[in-house]
Symmetry: none
Subunit: 458 residues, 2 copies
């Protein structure tokens, strides 16, 4: 019998064709179709599949194997980012197209391609050995791209199904087809929105200008008070809990095949601005940030409109590193904003939530406990060998700047540490037009995971 | 024969219905329709109408009477401010609605209502005496709300048509229906737009945050550097040319029937923020300002999007007092912005033009020359009597915070001093949602100008 996973490129093209955009309810049928696709593949692999309802998009929870076997949990998400701006796509975002060794389409790399890699590898292993003595629980959610709002609730309810020894995740990045990264940490996040209120309504800046404080002027004062001239965050206590990186982490980073010049070229900037004492490539991994993601107020159109606006806003997120806490930093930023706000302006600060940072020390590295579960120790060890076997070099162990709050949640609630093997690259254009997945990485990664699953079960 | 000006409220409603927003080229047809409306009324009044092309919106230039008669020039503008934010309007901004003695609509007070006042008064006087021995030239432009960029060119070309003895303008404010103001000065204006450029495109703030300077962070630094904590503008040399007000000006201001408490209540603020040494009501007349009229960058929608934006902008205007120069201040602000901009960000500052401040000393007041043209002396004298006749009190002679750059241009190029009789009030919400014109003022002002035109010609 042939199954779709016999041809992983075709399988990925199928998966991509289901436009599973979670941010927009117009795509509800695509979301359902992508979920059905994932369930079908898992059933073909012999999994018992359950669809767990949540307030928004159900979670696929599937399992195989004897409860007495070592238990690996695998995470993925079947939802994708919105495709717009559509006019910048060379080919239809939901009609997968192969060009120059890449499969183009929304979600190809984030996260459908990596899921097809895991599933294809499993398909090959299980075809040869249907009784592979490894219990596997698949957890594929449908709200990752909107911040996983239902995930914590799902987790509290179903944590008993997830009490494994390790979580396998391929939703992080690597430098390219010759070098993979095992991600050992993710920054946390805390989001806030600042709203400032001045006069009752927008005022003529000629008739009234000079009598009152402009909310935009107050916003500038507040905003500029949050960093010093060298780029350090000046919120009192912001750095109190920060733990400096280990020496081995700096050394691993030096193995990264990316020069600062290349990185600057990729970003399109002439000058980096990391905080003092850190290189730009260190700063994005080891330093917390306070970023303005959006600022606005007053006239936004063409030309000019001479108003003193009634309101102004700033959307702020902080990226957090161990051992900062999302709640603590939110409170500190809120207090600083309120303190810096001039008395003539009314200020409201809304804490929008976030998640704490996550770090896993690979077994055997300085600082590791030595008491990790057997499957976890084995998995890190086996993964290193399998990656070297397929990609020609050992993985680099690196923390990454982004945030995947559910990784931290799975540790807190189900005690799972994560083995994160990155399969997408900067060139894959995640969240941007012309997202693609590198088929060379896909092929090498399938071999890697084929060996990985086989060795893990022996 | 009935004409539209027989019913001034209907005439104003018609004029308002033409959405003549000059700031946005989408409104081109409304701009043309409002211009046509003005031309039609002037033709009905017996004027010879010429439409003078300019690079953007044509100027209406219309004349009546013998070249040997005393020559009065009347100024107005047929364009209006953008209506947004639309959701704050109680009724459609371009469908005039009368409620509680006010006509609501964009442009009702600025400047269509006052134009209908002049035209209706003239209509009544000329109906009775078609040969009124007063030469009148009407000058109605269509770019006032975008800073009159074509006006100076028009003026240089057509100044021979404008060599009168006085300019009559009703595009300034008064306290209310019981007290008019004759405006004796206007602040100048200079407008700039600051654009900041960071990375090539919006970046993921997790993956890249910490490596580079966020353009919004740079904007905050630059913006906050332009004022000190007490509200003074810190641009080097900004106050160098400022002349303090005369004693009689402060005394006239004390006649203004407006307390600071009432003014604060009107603005909807708890606290004023005038620069040190000035009351709020002095500051808006006698002090220069630097205001942010619009600031933006990054994600503007609901919720959050974790980007480091590629760009940010600030729209800035300065209000200027004698003897500051628009060009000089623009250069100083531009230099300061460029100096405060961090080197990691590319900054472009566009000077958008403006105009110098204007001051006229009423004939007979301390400091006046005594050698004013006959029609000017007579007009100030007659106006005082006619205003007292209709409104019950003599006008207050006051400088005002707004800017009408062309007033200064008309003085420089055509030698015209201005008699500015204010017909709108704070309650009219100029440049804001729910702009309106007070119909009691409209009625009293029509009587005032009916008497004024009659007496001026005898």
């Amino acid at each position: 019998m042939t199954v779709i996973l016999d041809d992983p490129v075709r399988a990925l093209a199928d998966y991509v064709s289901h436009d599973s955009v979670s941010a927009d309810s117009c795509f509800a049928s695509g979301v359902a179709a992508a979920r059905d696709f994932a369930c079908e593949r898992l059933r073909e692999l012999g999994f018992t599949v359950e669809i767990v309802k949540t307030p928004i998009n159900p979670v696929v929870l599937a399992t195989r194997g004897d409860p007495s076997w070592p238990h690996l949990v695998i995470y993925g998400h079947y939802d994708v980012q919105p495709p717009d701006p559509l006019d910048l796509w060379v080919s239809d975002p939901f009609e997968a197209t192969v060009r120059d060794g890449r499969l183009y389409g929304r979600g190809a790399a984030d996260n459908k391609g990596p899921q097809i890699v895991h599933m294809t590898a499993l398909h090959r292993v299980l075809k040869e050995n249907p009784d592979l003595p490894l219990r596997i629980t698949y957890l594929i959610e449908g709200e990752e791209e909107i911040g996983s709002p239902s995930f914590r609730g799902f987790l509290e309810e179903r944590k008993d199904s997830l009490l494994g020894e390790l979580l396998l995740v391929s939703d992080t990045g690597s430098p390219g087809p010759d070098q993979l990264v095992v991600t050992t940490g993710l920054r946390g996040l805390t989001a806030l929105e600042v709203k400032l209120f001045g006069p009752r309504q927008d005022l003529h800046s000629g008739v009234h200008g000079g009598a009152l404080l402009n909310p935009l002027q107050a916003l500038m004062k507040i905003g500029s008070s949050l960093h010093d001239d060298e780029g350090r965050v000046t919120v009192p206590g912001f750095y109190d809990a920060v733990v400096a990186p280990e020496q081995w982490e700096r050394e691993e980073l030096s193995r990264l095949p990316l020069t600062e010049d290349k990185y600057a070229e990729f970003l399109g900037i002439d000058e980096f601005s990391p905080p003092p004492g850190y290189s730009p490539l260190e700063a994005i991994r080891f330093c917390p940030t306070l970023e303005f993601n959006g600022v606005g107020g007053g006239y936004q159109g063409e030309g000019s409109k001479t108003v003193i606006p009634a309101e102004a806003f700033a959307k702020i997120t902080c990226r957090l590193v161990p051992n900062q806490s999302s709640e603590d930093i939110a409170n500190k930023v809120k207090a600083a904003v309120e303190q810096f706000c001039p008395s003539a302006i009314r200020c409201e600060v809304f804490v929008k939530g976030g998640g704490d940072p996550y770090v896993v020390i690979p077994p055997g590295k300085p600082g590791s406990s030595g008491s990790e579960p057997h499957l976890m120790k084995k998995a890190f060890d086996v993964a290193e060998g399998c990656i070297e076997g397929s990609f020609g070099t050992k993985p680099i162990y690196l923390r990454e700047g982004g945030s995947i709050p559910i990784i931290r949640d799975l540790k807190e609630v189900a005690g799972l540490e994560s083995l994160m093997i990155g399969l997408f690259t900067n060139e894959d254009n995640l969240h941007s037009p012309n997202e693609s997945f590198d088929l060379e990485i896909m092929e090498k990664a399938i071999s890697t995971f084929e060996a990985f699953f086989k060795q893990l079960a022996t």
